[in-house]
């Protein structure tokens, strides 16, 4: 397949691209050539410049220098939106969903119809488009009512359906769970077979081996290498990304001493019920890391959000160190020492206009000085240590988080959750969009706080995230269905998640 495409024309080419944001050089004289019909992976650490290249390849931004071409022809003028749209379709890393518009219209934005729009027809077609992705929603509902995952799938369905011959996917899988990713790949393969060209960005490297033929690595705004995927082992790939030899080692629960039954209980859930879950009881001991797994509809997110007070339970009790936490109150949850990485960084995680320091310190503003005083020095030090401890690529603690790359934004959310030295840490998809190396260090942080005696709840479907867990609790249809110790196997876990265990 790779050989077949070798002599073919280039679907897209970018040459000598440089792009600066103020003093930050996001792309430094880079190039990429994507052959017609191939699926080309672009990888690199957070802040390497991948998404910046995407915005240039889709005509949202002009490079400071360099040129872009499609199928041998120079790219259209920036204002010729229609021209760009004919050449390339894209799932951007940042959401392009319009919350007030219906799901159907989001799918058909700017192509609702050549003349008079037929809403009934559009509704029918929308349902058909979403079918293969397993998104089962009323397409007339406003998109604001969708979950993060459903929104992501709507964006994917839209990009794949516009009929472009070249499609870019910037971290399409970061917010998806296993089955959704699988369905996406089925669609991708079908489109690959019809000759569609893809550029695919992901921090899940195994996905690259699964769907791509060629891979390009960027590091620190520079092009490092381009090679056929089957000639590049994983270790080499990671080395190219990080610029240093030596593999990765995701911390494992097994390396931590066993917590044991004698450790005091930090968090207790007793018969907790709420939106999408019922009768959940759970005890997390000090120093214990508990994984919470389950399908998108299992209620795992809702349980986690309820613990942190983002949702109000209908019944049941949450206790920290034996003291009851006021239901539905984030303020009280924080007071009891609960910290949280919420599910969607753009919704509840970050104030984009504020600086890294300020976002990182948002939950501890009251503790930095007397009477609510926030001494600039203290604030800067919270920001500085966040940047250092979580591998954040930024020009400084004063930089607004809106300027950060996606993965680096996620790290700021992590910093915020940990700023108050929580006794109980609730992490929802904590490593979404985080590069492999940074993921290692983030999970290292989880490991470290557990060792210092915090109880951690990790809501995730990523195997790496679950490896740090002492126990994995699987939910199914809103109830606790299964519990595994450190010795869980992938197949057993998957079976439990699907509700077909035993």
């Amino acid at each position: 397949m790779n050989e077949a495409a070798a002599g073919g024309t280039l679907a897209a080419a970018a040459r000598n691209i440089t792009k600066r944001y103020g003093k930050t050089v996001a792309l430094n004289d880079v190039g990429i050539e994507i052959r017609d019909g191939e699926s080309h992976a672009l990888v690199g650490r957070n802040g390497a410049g991948k998404s910046t290249l995407v915005s240039i390849l889709t005509g949202l931004q002009a490079p400071d220098s360099g040129e872009v071409a499609f199928f041998g022809r120079p790219a259209p003028a920036l204002s010729d939106r229609e021209g760009w749209r004919r050449n390339v379709a894209c799932v951007y890393q940042r959401s392009t969903i319009m919350p007030a518009l219906s799901v159907a219209e989001n799918l058909f934005i700017n192509r609702q119809g050549k003349t008079v729009i037929s809403w009934p027809k559009m509704r029918r077609q929308s349902a058909e488009l979403l079918e293969p992705f397993g998104v089962d929603v009323d397409v007339t509902k406003p998109a604001s009512e969708l979950t993060v995952e459903q929104r992501q799938l709507v964006e994917i369905a839209r990009a794949l359906s516009v009929g472009a011959k070249f499609i870019i996917l910037d971290e399409p899988t970061a917010q998806l769970d296993g089955p959704a990713i699988e369905r996406l790949f089925e669609r991708l393969r079908a489109l690959q077979d019809t000759g569609i060209t893809f550029m695919f960005i992901s921090h899940h490297l195994e996905e690259i081996y699964e769907v791509c033929q060629t891979v390009t690595v960027f590091r620190d705004a520079r092009h490092i290498l381009t090679a056929p995927v089957n000639e590049l082992g994983r270790a080499e790939l990671v080395d190219a990304m990080t610029g240093e030899p030596g593999g990765l080692s995701v911390p494992s629960a097994a390396d931590r001493p066993n917590v044991g039954q004698k450790a005091t209980v930090a968090l207790t859930l007793r018969d907790l019920s709420g939106d999408s879950f019922t009768g959940v009881s759970l005890e997390a001991r000090k120093g214990e890391v508990i994984g919470l797994a389950g399908s998108a509809s299992s209620g795992k997110h809702q349980v986690a959000e309820t613990i942190y007070g983002l949702r109000k339970p209908t019944s049941g009790v949450i206790e920290v160190d034996g003291r009851k936490v006021k239901p539905g109150s984030v303020v009280d949850a924080l007071r009891h020492g609960i910290g949280c990485v919420p599910r969607d960084r753009h919704h509840q995680g970050l104030v984009l206009g504020l600086s890294i320091a300020e976002n990182a310190a948002l939950t501890v503003m009251g503790k930095l000085g007397p009477a609510g005083l926030v001494p600039p020095r203290q604030l800067a030090s919270v920001g500085g240590s966040a940047i250092a401890s979580y591998d954040i690529v930024a020009s400084g603690a004063e930089q607004p988080v809106s300027d950060l790359s996606g993965g680096n934004q996620q790290k700021v959310v992590m910093a915020r959750a940990l700023a108050g030295d929580p006794k109980v840490l609730v992490l929802i998809n904590p490593t979404a969009g985080v590069d492999v190396k940074s993921k290692e260090s983030l999970l290292g942080v989880v490991d470290r706080v557990a060792r210092t005696g915090a109880a951690v709840i990790v809501v995730s479907d990523e195997l790496d995230d679950l490896k740090v867990c002492d126990r994995v609790v699987v939910m199914f249809h809103g109830e606790v269905a299964h519990e595994f110790g450190r010795d869980w196997t992938e197949s057993a876990l998957v079976a439990a998640i699907e509700g077909v265990a035993e």
Binding site: T58, L60, S79, R81, E82, R85, C90, Y92, T96, I97, M98, P99, A100, L101, S102, E105, I109, N110, Q112, G113, K114, T115, V116, I117, R123, G134, D136, V137, D138, T140, K141, P142, T173, D177, G178, P179, I181, E182, R183, H203, H204, L205, E206, L248, A293, S295, S297, V436, K439, D461, E462, L463, D464, E490, L493, V494, A495, I497, E498, V500
Partner: protein, 343 residues
Amino acid sequence: MTKTLSPDAATATAPASGRRTPIRLARFRDLALVPAIIVLMVIGALISPTFLTVGNLTDVLQQQSALALLVLAEAMILITGKFDLSLESTIGFAPVLAIALVVPATDQAHGLGTEWPQWMAIPLCLAIGAAIGALNGLLILKFQLSAFIVTLGMLITVRGLHVGVSGGSSLFQLPQSFMYLGFEKWFGLAASVWIALIAFVIGIVVLSYFRQGRSLYAIGGNVDAARAAGIRTNAVVWTVLILGGVLAALAGILETGRLGAIGANMGEGMIFTVFAAAVIGGISLNGGKGTLFGALCGVLMLGLIQNLLTLMSVDGHWFGAINGVIILIALVLSRLTTGKAQE
């Protein structure tokens, strides 16, 4: 390396929530004011026998027709996520300048000496409205200035030009053709009502059933995403601003015909009412939300409240307070009956 749980049994996911009868939320938001309007109608009927007469209601429509055009313009501009405060001075200045260009330069007529043919007054007036909208667009889009402050500056400037050109006097000597639309009746209903109605119908149809119209919502909802979807956002916003100016100029023509002269402060303070009608009618100041039908309901509601207060002969000293309280009550009422939070 990283791995995500991918079950082999992908098919196992059964459709959990069935696709039910489509509930049209958009429709509901449209109708938010209908209960409040009905309550007003009932109260009105009880208070004054005149209220529900055809004569009175068509008069209310006529009185609101110029306002309705401004609200139509503002609603479209707000939906695209912009602002235009200057509409309130365009409504007066566009007619004044157009007329000054066609009438003689006597002390009474306040012409500029050009004395162009009289039939040109209406096209000129619309062109002046378009020019003001275009200038707003230039400053907002090319210079990337805040729409609020640009159009506030424009409001002051254009009002100032109005006073300057007219010398601060009311213009009484107007070409008959210029008065026609605001004064005449067609099929028993004021021409201005027909015009406003037709403008709204066109607006509603375009914003509901045409890609061009839907793009206003996309731009107001998320301008980057709209650009990414291939919408020429600047061109669309500019068009809408120009159209807004034209509609304001048209409103000026209707108002001139209705009032028989152009005072030096025609339109003054009107922009508040325009925003009130649009926002009460469900248009969001943040862009991307609301329907023209809702905005029209807002216009009607405010018109009915005014009419009712007049019929009740409310004491002038308490007129304002009662007016304000009724507006607040209507807001709460429409909030409670639809259960939708406003923005």
